[in-house]
């Protein structure tokens, strides 16, 4: 595996910047530019580089969709949130006349993880192959239902690509296009599944919409084994720990603190905070990232854990 690209990183509901949000960012950039040389492109880049991420950019608002670059010609995707639409357009732009194959791994079937399929251009193109993997019995039915009347104007008959559905048994490793894929049951309303992808000595974990009951030691041990020695763990860090175990207990999500602890115990190398709370603005996510890095620093064992926060368009090399 070569890397990961994020097409949708927001939890529960897509969000967008407002005109006021953009104006605030522009004002911040202009203030930062006061008194500085602004003649060359590198001068402008220098000003932008001096700004915090939240001031110069945005984490983005598409719901869950992550691409894993396996190094092979076939596409690997986790979840079909609204980020699937821009991914589909980018993949189609690469099309050179021959059919493309897409392997799509579903964590679960809640709306924010399936809403991209009706807008997934490659599914409309004859000659393409779209293989959708999951462990829910209702996998195909749930996707068909979202395009039934009156919810959507066209049903599955509009798709020109060959659509296939593959049921994965949790805990059993399956070889798919040169990648060993293992799914694991997670705690979430209606169940969700995490994925461990292994290839060419690299390991990527996709674990979203996953609540961690802190009273159950065997639960943590199961996840530590699943995350063991991962190069990258994409982790649901939607809530603060206090919220996750009090007012939002049983809402099916986790926190940055539990992410750091599990990754440290599993000796993972990189924790990527994912499935951001939709009410958080860019400053709030920046703050969560800074705090999580600080937590990692003050609790660090022998192996440092790199911590990042996913944003739409972010790429991580493995």
């Amino acid at each position: 595996m070569k890397g990961v690209r994020f097409w949708g990183t927001r939890g529960s509901l897509p969000v967008a910047l407002t005109a006021r949000d953009v104006r605030e960012k522009l004002l911040g950039a202009l203030r930062a530019a006061r008194g500085r040389p602004l003649t060359s492109e590198s001068d402008l880049e220098s000003v932008l580089a001096s700004l915090p991420f939240a001031a110069a950019a945005t984490y983005g608002g598409h719901s869950s969709c992550v691409q894993i670059d396996t190094g092979g010609p076939e596409f690997f995707i986790c979840d079909m949130g609204s980020g699937l639409r821009p991914f589909g357009q980018a993949a189609t732009a690469q099309r050179d006349g021959i059919g493309q194959t897409f392997h799509i791994f579903m964590s679960h079937l809640h709306w924010d993880h399936i809403m991209g399929l009706p807008f997934f251009v490659p599914a409309f193109i004859p000659g393409n192959r779209v293989v959708i993997y999951g462990s829910h019995q209702e996998l195909e039915a749930a996707l068909r239902r979202q395009q039934d009347k009156p919810s959507f104007p066209v049903d599955f008959s509009i798709f020109g690509a060959k659509l296939e559905f593959v049921h994965l048994k949790p805990g059993r490793t399956r070889e798919i296009a040169g990648v060993a894929v293992t799914s694991m049951l997670q705690r979430h309303a209606g169940d969700s599944y995490g994925y461990r992808f292994e290839s060419q000595g690299k390991v990527v974990i996709y674990s979203t919409d996953s609540e961690h009951p802190l009273a159950q030691a065997e639960h943590a041990e199961r996840f530590v084994r699943f995350f063991q020695d991962a190069d990258l763990v994409i982790f649901d860090a939607m809530y603060s720990l206090a919220d996750a175990i009090s007012v939002k207990a049983d809402w099916g999500h986790s926190s940055n603190i539990v992410g750091v602890e599990l990754c440290q115990m599993a000796r993972a190398r990189h924790l990527c905070l994912f499935h951001h709370e939709p009410v958080f603005d860019d400053d709030a996510i920046d703050a969560v990232l800074a705090e999580t890095r600080r937590l990692e620093e003050i609790t660090r064992g022998e192996t440092p854990l790199h911590v990042s926060a996913a944003y739409d368009g972010m790429e991580i090399a493995l």
């Binding site: 802190l214 603060s240 600080r294």
Partner: protein
Amino acid sequence: MHLQIATRQVADATIATPAGRIDHRSAAEFEAALTPLVEAAVAARGALVLDFSGIEYISSVGLRVLMIAAKKMREREAPLLVTALRSVVAEIFAISRFDRILTVTATLDEAMALCSAAALAQYRSAGSSAAP
């Protein structure tokens, strides 16, 4: 043994002083030691003050124990206070947002002031620097 808890009664308040690390290995031990203190404080309608000056680290599992204790105390309108956090533990409270859902004070004196006038008076008369 990773964790030890000393206790003392000051008027209607109980001061519990755990020491060590509250992590995945010792959280159950912390919970087992804390539960009877919570029950006793609730029964007496008194305050429970956790003097964390000896706590070096607390993990998510340990914070969950505090959450459960605070919930039990709140249901019976008995105050639970956490005080004198070391800097690392204070940071963990802030990052986890536990500083927003628990009553946390900088010093034991401030905590006693929030318990009752009698507790504060007795605490001060005994000398605030007295060892537990």
